[in-house]
Amino acid sequence: MEPKISISLGRLKLKNPVMIASGTFGYAREFSDFFDLKKLGAIVTKTITLRARQGNLPPRTCETPAGMLNSVGLENPGIDAFIREKLPLLAKTGVPIIVSIASEAGWQEFVELARRLDKIKAVAALELNISCPNISRRSIVDSPQATKLLISQDSKATYDLVKTVRKATRKTLITKLSPNVTDIAEIAVAAEAAGSDAVSLINTLTGMSIDAQSRRSKVAAGIAGLSGPAVRPIAVRMVWEAYQKIKIPIIGMGGIIDDLSALEFLIAGATAVSVGTANFVYPRVTIEIIEGVRKYLRRNRIKDIKYLSGSLNL
């Protein structure tokens, strides 16, 4: 018998648990040369802001051991152009489209984005990007004590924001968390308590790489976000920590590059997984992971993927 690999995130049903992580898939068209996009579980879009953002100055990326740093800076055309130009093509894939949103200035922007997207049928869910390390931090958290923090680095701010956005939309709400915290479970609990339907973890770890000759940071912005296989053990650990404290589904990500690494996240407690940096290297990797997970379940006689989630042997 074929194992069941469909999963649910809130009311959103996915035919399989393999998703595309935000910011790693262009606007999907770039990948239609490599595989049939229909096969994906879901696509999380590049983060959209209210106004268009040019993004950061180059160089924006550099390679690091088993990973890379990026500081793209949420380059995007803004919500209007996104809805007009990008969303129709994304919707055509037939895959649930989860729109990642972020604010450049205060919570009101999150609320407005959520309201705008709430009305659009092609939008399957929203992912709150409250954890991007690459945009100026000062204006993000309203509380003066928290001016140096991202929203997702403060459990109170996370709770308040999710609660506010929750009122603005009936869509499935996913909160994306930052690994640059002392206790990820505490933030995950706050997101759950505020009404988030699921949490995504992890966003990139902040990092730096320096060219010794020029004594400059290899990425123009100085500090950037680390991703790729190098961060995977940290991500898996964080999924495991969050899993023990929350009931809502976890979308696990961070260095997934093949079926075995995706399985690590599922066993640690993730309901679904997202693939990010690996898309840059192996554009077909998501499809191979779906097949690999299916085979694993079959081989181990696991009837439903839900029995795998959190099945870590202690």
Binding site: F25, F34, K46, Q54, L57, P58, P283
Partner: protein, 272 residues
């Protein structure tokens, strides 16, 4: 392009052709059929993921069912690549990017190719295509200017000559040809050919400072130039928005809208 941009291709040869230069010949019917000058391929040089990202290589030559990449040993990626043996396979994505516009209609034209360092690699393919387009009735002159630090780094002179191009060389240390920058050589040439001026065009590939000067010259002499930007790429397929270059029309992706751009489009200051 078709359904399959990614393929496992066989290495036919991977030979040292100079002090630290290698010529890689790969078998691919598809890439050899569809590639155009200025396009590139993304090669997974290391099978393990310690060296995670693919490396971009300009398409240097195309033959029936095969294509070549010319590369220099610059870092961990190319060190890996140069050890690959003929008969083994490489995971390649391509052809990628927007190449040079070489479909010319003018009967008389002078085409100046400017290569800095490894910038010669894609220009050999371009020179071949430009000379192919030459008919007895058309007067087409292709001049190639090659710049390098020193004599031993002058590459592909013979290939260009074989196609019938006239070749001039500049070295920083004066060990071959003109002593100085290849852009000085270009400036001299443009000054001489200023009047009368048949349709003249510049195609260039090389390091950023060189391309910046060429863009200035292109504006000063009012000669259109197409330049190919060399850039570190993360994905090479337009997905990551990492290889941004500042243009008059906002940031563009070197891998997708480029790597070849009209020179006047690029904004050179401000990290561009």
């Amino acid at each position: 392009m078709g359904d399959k941009l990614q393929e496992e291709v066989k290495i036919l040869s991977n030979q040292k052709v100079g002090k630290s230069y290698f010529l890689l010949r790969l078998a691919s019917r598809k890439i050899s059929a569809f590639a155009s000058p200025g396009q590139f391929v993304q090669i997974k040089v290391a099978a393990d993921n310690e060296i995670l990202l693919r490396r971009p290589f300009g398409i240097h030559r195309v033959n029936k069912n095969t294509f070549d990449c010319l590369y220099s040993l610059v870092g961990a990626g190319t060190r890996h690549l140069c050890r690959k043996q003929p008969g083994s396979r490489l995971d390649v994505i391509g052809p990628l990017g927007n190449g040079f516009n070489y479909a010319l209609t003018a009967k008389r034209c002078t085409l100046i190719l400017v290569a800095g360092g490894m910038g010669v690699a894609p220009l050999v393919f371009l020179a071949e295509k430009l000379m192919e387009g030459k008919t007895p009735s058309a007067k087409r002159k292709v001049v190639v200017l090659i710049g390098a630090k020193t004599k031993s780094q002058i590459l592909c002179e013979r290939e260009f000559k074989k196609f019938g191009c006239s070749v001039k060389v500049a070295t920083d240390d004066g060990s071959r040809g003109f002593k100085g920058k290849v852009t000085d050589l270009l400036n001299n040439l443009l000054r001489e050919t200023r009047n009368p001026k048949p349709e003249t065009r510049i195609y260039a590939c090389g390091p950023r400072p060189m391309l910046k000067v060429i863009s200035r010259l292109s504006i000063r002499y009012n000669i259109p130039a197409e330049i190919s930007l060399e850039e570190h790429l993360a994905c090479g397929i337009g997905a990551c928005f990492g290889c941004a270059v500042r243009t008059r029309d906002g940031f563009k992706r070197v891998c997708k809208e480029g790597p070849v751009f009209p020179a006047e489009e690029i904004v050179w200051n401000q990290g561009g």
